[in-house]
Amino acid sequence: MSPFFAAIVLIVLITCGHFLGRRRAIQTANGSRRLLHSLPHYYGLYVTLWTGVPAVILMALWVPLQPYFLDSFLIASLGDKASGLNSDQLGLLLNDIRNVADGNISSRRNDPTIIAAANRLIEWRQLGYAGLLVITLGAAIAGLAIARKRISRTMRARNAVERVFNAVLFIASLIAILTTIGIVLSLLFETIRFFGKVPITEFLFNLSWSPQTAMRADQVASSGTFGAVSLFAGTLLITAIAMIVAVPVGLMSAIYLSEYAPRKIRDILKPALEILAGIPTVVYGFFAALTVAPAIRGWGESIGLDVASESALAAGLVMGIMIIPFVSSLSDDVINAVPQTLRDGSFALGATHSETVRQVIIPAAFPGIVGSVLLAVSRAIGETMIVVMAAGLAANLTINPLEAVTTVTVQIVTLLVGDQEFDSAKTLAAFALGLALFCVTLVLNIIALRTVRKYREKYD
């Protein structure tokens, strides 16, 4: 017996429910479908929902909760053996018991108490699954019976079914909100814990970043400094390089494509640019680390410059290339939104094409272009893989693009990849950085989306 079995029985019941509901409805109407308020299959769906929804909810609650309860029962039953342990040891012990119960190899497979506990666990599991089966099936059958009884000729089955569908749609639309709330809460929660260990002033104003782990527990305070200034500066430097590449190239590409290129060429070039946008960032990162960084280094050496092998320039350049299609497609939309009448007005005065673009179209599209650039900046700040692979790891407060700098996202990755302890300031620092990243990009996005929206409304 397992949850899987319960699920299969439930599916069978649900299917039956549909047929029963349908048949019942046709019966109440003495076989004449036209007398029914709704089409027969709505009655079927009605019974299906009554059969399935409560049972599935019960099941969805039961299955993840059962292990927790079983664990606490186990601990209780272990009595003395468990009470003296700290949480890590207890976790190990429970793991061993579970492994023995599952028939896996365990280091303590010969310990009699563990074998006894494992047997108990197996027994309880069976009991639990039996309980699950009884409860879900009980709920399903009860639901089926109630729903079937309710069916009458005048019952508005369609309306009832549609109300449920509507509720489902509404809940689906809440997921996005829940995601945002989840992001904010989880980041905020861990960040507050971080600031309990490291003062917020240090995070915001200290110039040095060296998140070492403590060797001993009493060393925490002296273990490292968490001054994020150099990370923000590094992020800004790389973002600035990226924008210097992406904004002029992206904007001019958009202008060329929407104003100059003949239709046939545009139809080829636009999808080609979209390919650039579809390339995964990890590929850009590999490209930056493998090809661009050594090339820049070699070029620097040839003219006598000392270039770091993980220079900000390499990461920034490649990030700029990544952002080009982003800028160009957003600007393209914005430029196309400028009404043709303005172009005509300018041409009719004898302006050349470039005069029209520079003096009429760009000023008219300016708010929209600013919005797109802000969105691009936000994307550059949050970009991770390129900098993880091509930028440095050590914090370095500089504006020299030939040196290695590190960024907020790089530090989040280095702090969290590998062994994690949820209590150390090192791990929590990643969440504080994440919150800072989230806030900055959020503000940029809101301003950008607002500007673009207002701009669009102006010409709609």
């Binding site: 989880s186 060329y256 995964p280 969290l416 969440f431």
Partner: protein
């Protein structure tokens, strides 16, 4: 006279203006060339570095399978076959081919020519056909990554290098005897990850990607479409729906790594779901893809002209019937296109998966959505970080494969859009 000079002035001015026009146009052409040049450079670079990874060097060896070692007393026993000393047979064959290698050090460096994977191949071959025992068979032993790179010309022999000059001489002997062959690199497509570049493959990561995408699409497609239908067709326009809309647009622009932090804090720490599992990866990517799908679906739904809705309502259809019978089928190609594009983005996503531990070194092919797994882009990241020269070409090859998948997906999206595009 003055008229003439002002005329000349005007002509000069126009010349200037036309020069500015040409310059401006040139900037546009330069810009687009930079963008496309970067694209060609990137793909060309990957192709140039990666194509050689599709071939692998093999050393053809005649291996004797002695009856007394494999089936002592003439009895064929699986346990004995499993634990037999296959390495020794391979090594003996190598020594036979290169006479005069006597010192221990030389022997050891001779043995390094073949990969540890060759032993496994030999074992599998014997296990599959026990009749071979006692005979002498020809086997294509996978060459070690250094030999492979040397043959491909990526590294040179010599002091301090990965291949000593002695080894180079042996390779030449083998090569002259026609024992060195380049064959299609099946390991790359059928193996999981490995510390040995010549044995490392992308199959594990591909399955991981498939499982992750399965979870992602399974969650984000129905949820996204349902949310879009609600917002576009049923929700009244008020403050609340405004908030949802702004929220969705913002969520679409939140850095992906933040979703990874969410997954770490909520799904791993709070709900205790397994680390490194496609299940969690799929959920995180689903949340990340959701806004894209909602926005695309809403656009597709709102492109269906109101007259269709009015016609259906006029026939007495309920609002739900209007949507399910009329609007949704018409909007479906657009929704599907949006979903494919969203899924393609998720398939190439790396950063959030690093946060939830899908970056582990995993040799086994994952069997279910709760097994530890990695995905293609993360595999690229891992290989890109490896110091061995042979991993460079494999990283590039994996990139080419990933790009092929992505381009295929986008192509399908484009074809769908072209095929079902409707102008109202």
């Amino acid at each position: 006279m003055t008229e003439n000079s002002s005329r000349n002035l005007a002509i000069q001015l126009r010349k200037k203006r036309y020069a500015a026009e040409r310059r401006f146009r040139l900037y546009g052409i330069i810009s687009i060339s930079i963008a496309l040049g970067a694209l060609c450079l990137l793909i060309g670079n990957m192709a140039a570095k990666g194509w050689s990874a599709f071939m692998q060097t093999y050393i053809i060896l005649e291996v004797e399978l002695p009856r007394d070692g494999l089936a002592p007393g003439g009895k064929i026993d699986i346990e004995t076959l499993r634990e037999a000393n296959y390495v020794a047979y391979l090594r003996k064959s190598l020594r036979d081919n290169i006479p005069g290698v006597t010192s221990r050090r030389d022997r050891r460096s001779l043995y390094k020519l073949i990969s540890s994977g060759a032993t496994l191949d030999l074992q599998n071959r014997v296990l599959a056909d026990t009749k071979l025992i006692g005979s002498k068979i020809s086997i294509a032993a996978v060459a070690s990554d250094d030999v492979d790179q040397f043959i491909k010309g990526n590294i040179t022999a010599g002091s301090g290098g990965k291949i000593s000059s002695k080894q180079a001489a042996w390779i030449k002997t083998l090569s002259d005897a026609g024992r060195i062959e380049k064959r299609f690199n099946t390991n790359l497509f059928s193996n999981g990850d490995s510390r040995e570049p010549e044995l490392a493959g992308i199959w594990g990561a591909t399955i991981g990607s498939l499982l992750t995408m399965f979870v992602t699409v399974l969650l984000s497609f129905p949820l996204g479409v349902a949310a879009a239908i609600y917002l576009e067709e049923f929700a009244r326009k008020n403050r609340w729906t405004d908030i949802i809309e702004v929220n969705i647009n913002n969520l679409a622009a939140v850095p992906s790594i933040v979703f990874g932090l969410l997954g770490l804090a909520v799904f791993l720490s709070f709900f205790g779901l397994p680390r490194s599992a496609p299940l969690v990866g799929g959920i995180v990517l689903a949340l990340m893809t959701l806004p894209t799908i909602i926005i695309a679906s809403r656009a597709a739904l709102s492109a269906v002209p109101p007259s269709i809705r009015e016609a259906a309502i006029g026939m007495g259809a309920s609002p739900m019937q209007v949507v399910l019978h009329h609007v949704l089928p018409l909007a479906f190609p657009g929704i599907l296109t949006g979903t494919i594009i969203g899924a393609a983005r998720a398939l190439g996503e790396t950063a959030p998966l690093l946060m939830i531990g899908m970056v582990a070194f995993i040799v086994d092919i994952p069997g279910s959505i709760t097994d530890p797994a990695t995905v293609l882009p993360v595999q690229i990241y891992l290989w890109a970080d490896s110091p061995e020269r042979a991993f460079v070409e494999r990283t590039a090859a994996a990139t080419l494969i990933l790009l092929t998948f992505l381009i295929l997906m986008n192509l399908i999206a484009v074809i769908l859009r072209k095929k079902f595009e409707r102008r109202w």
